[in-house]
Symmetry: C2
Subunit: 394 residues, 2 copies
């Protein structure tokens, strides 16, 4: 493995990561940011437009969420990073004083169905809100994320479809590494110019599709550039098989430094989280818990529950008998079904709250199992119950 | 005035009302129910379908709401009173352990644009949900409200358009009084059959349109029937002038007993509340604060604020500088505008919370002014500021 280069670490000093227990590849640790500590492994709820959809910051606190995510692409379009900056940055704007991570917008731009054009300079696209023409460069997304003021910011990367062949994947991955270098330069310049501002950490993104040797090569090249405060793994959970995803995670676990957090982007189904932790992942994010919460599906320890199902009409039980969230402590399946059948907004929040609580608690349970020395058994048992669950037990 | 009859009071003993201060016609008191005390004058938030739209029961507690309302018509259709009863009644179903009032469905049925047919027996109508044919009688709405289990239940009344002539108003008002007698008989039978069940209070509704002498006559006839635990005034705020409304309230103040709470149904704009309190009203309900909260209008002490207005784009101020609600303590106009412009669900809740808090607090301020001996000055000053307000001060 290449040694870390002598380039200044982009935030590593202010963002220490300590591992206090391991179980195979799994680790329990603490990632520290200027806005507080993040016990890992951790799930980050997604607050696309500076709000975790339907939830109040108080809900996130009560759930025990430590770090959340917001989307640069969406916030750039609405309300604009100038507004967020004028209001004191994301933390003050959305009244969340815990750690925040912003993505770079790469994933959103490359997911747009409207026009986009990639060049070495950056990516041109049309706003999905008003059709206006926009241009993201590595430098520009660092500038926007500086204005937003999150604790962790992400490089601009060239995201490709999950089934891309090796040539496509190599082209995009190498461009992502070149863009990373430009992000680092821009980040260093901002840092020098704004001495005294709240420190931010810049995370690189390892790409490479499902091509494990390409993934390893990119990880090595990125490590050689700097001693990064953390490493993201992008381009997964986009249609590839579970085996392919796990193979990439195994390579990443082998290739990335053990003393820095690893962030698996856009992955957030309960079983994917547990499988990811087994392979050395520390941070996850996904819209799944809030999106499914808004469409009427609950995560439970016994599988998924469709809350609109007529069988819950007079069911007095909570969504999950093992759950301690404020939804399950207070409300029956019958009431939550009623809210959804009647299109009541409260239902969206109660179910989103439950689902985010579910993933946050699942990661807390994983932390405990790793620290307690029984993670392998715990994770196998949990996965077995989840996959075989009927959602009606007990 | 007629003396109270010797018929058994429908719940008066279990629902005492004490007045501890008066200021002209205005009174400050306490209406006591099996689920707690209601300091009056009070605004009741409307939880149509067993949820005050967008709000959590915890929000209502934090706001200081004492009593809330739910709609018999809506709950009968969804989820059905059998479901609510099977789940332990409204309080347990919606996790609100404070006082609840259910209306009789009369207002909703007579507001339907679909077919309805009134006979002496009751009113036939089609469900707005599935078009099914339904029939409400005085006895049936008492039975439904018994199953729902609210603290205060309402008689079925014949509601007519606000501009009805005297003949129409007399016909409907007299039918309402006959229906009241049938409600009382049904209520007595339920009470005898369900000894030990949570007591409920039955409120009559004084109708009579804008015809003040008819209103007085109906109030007298209703008083002659029983020593009711409280009296509702229906059929106002349906298109009549403010002067007409105030004239009816003056008559009601004169005709109704001073030792029982008066409930002005469906009235809930801030100035209407203050004008109502000045004329002896103790209880109000209205969907206005939550409906306006969902459509982007905030009540403030300086008039109404349209939160989508572009002038708030980078405005760091709260909606109302004098407000102590959790929305105003935490969020800027800029953030709330952003949520509405971006169609974020959190915006609906933050604004509904502010608006309900506004009315609950306004009634608390009125209580204090009455008790403090300065209600006349306070109410005049408040009305003046509200009506002249620019919504931008200070």
């Amino acid at each position: 493995m290449p040694a870390a280069s002598t380039a200044g670490p982009p935030g590593a000093a202010e963002f220490p990561f300590s591992v206090h227990a391991v179980a195979g590849a799994a680790r329990a640790g603490v990632f520290t940011t200027p806005h507080g500590a993040v016990p890992t492994p951790a799930f980050m709820a997604v607050g696309t437009l500076a709000t975790v959809k339907t939830l109040d910051p108080q809900d996130l606190r009560a759930i025990g969420a430590s770090m959340i995510l917001a989307n640069t692409y969406h916030l750039h379009l609405r309300p604009g990073e100038d507004v967020v900056r004028a209001l004191g940055g994301l933390h003050r704007f959305m009244h969340w004083d815990g750690p925040i991570l912003t993505d770079s917008g790469g994933f959103q731009v490359f997911s747009l169905e409207t026009m986009r054009r990639v060049s070495e300079d950056g990516v041109e696209f049309r706003s999905h809100v008003d059709g206006s023409r926009r241009f993201f460069t590595p430098e520009r997304v660092i500038e926007i994320q500086r204005d937003l003021g999150a604790d962790v910011v992400m490089q601009l990367d060239h995201v490709i479809p999950g089934q891309s062949d090796l040539a496509q994947a190599r082209d995009a991955s190498e461009r992502s590494v070149r863009w990373l270098a430009r992000c680092q330069t821009a980040w260093d310049a901002h840092r020098a110019a704004q001495d005294g501002a709240t420190p931010q950490a810049l995370f690189p993104i390892v790409q490479g599709g499902t091509h494990t040797e390409l993934r390893r090569e990119m990880a090595d090249r990125i490590r050689a550039m700097s001693n990064w405060p953390g490493y993201a793994i992008g381009g997964l959970s986009v249609g590839e098989s579970k085996d392919d995803m796990h193979a990439v995670l195994d390579v990443a676990n082998d290739a990335l430094p053990r003393d820095r957090p690893r962030y698996l982007m856009g992955v957030g189904f309960p079983d994917d989280l547990v499988e990811g932790v087994r392979r050395g992942i520390d941070l996850f994010d996904c819209v799944a818990p809030t999106r499914m919460g808004r469409t009427g599906t609950a995560f439970t320890n016994y599988g998924r529950v469709n809350v609109r199902n007529a069988r819950w009409r007079i069911d007095p039980r909570p969504l999950d008998p093992d759950c301690t969230c404020s939804t399950c402590r207070r409300f029956s399946r019958a009431y939550i079904r009623h809210l959804f059948v009647s299109d009541e907004v409260l239902g969206l929040r109660l179910l989103s709250l439950h689902n985010v609580h579910f993933l946050v608690s699942l990661m807390r349970a994983a932390q405990g199992a790793i620290a307690g020395g029984n993670f392998d058994g715990w994770s196998r048992e949990w996965l077995g119950r989840y996959h075989s669950g009927s959602a009606t037990a007990p």
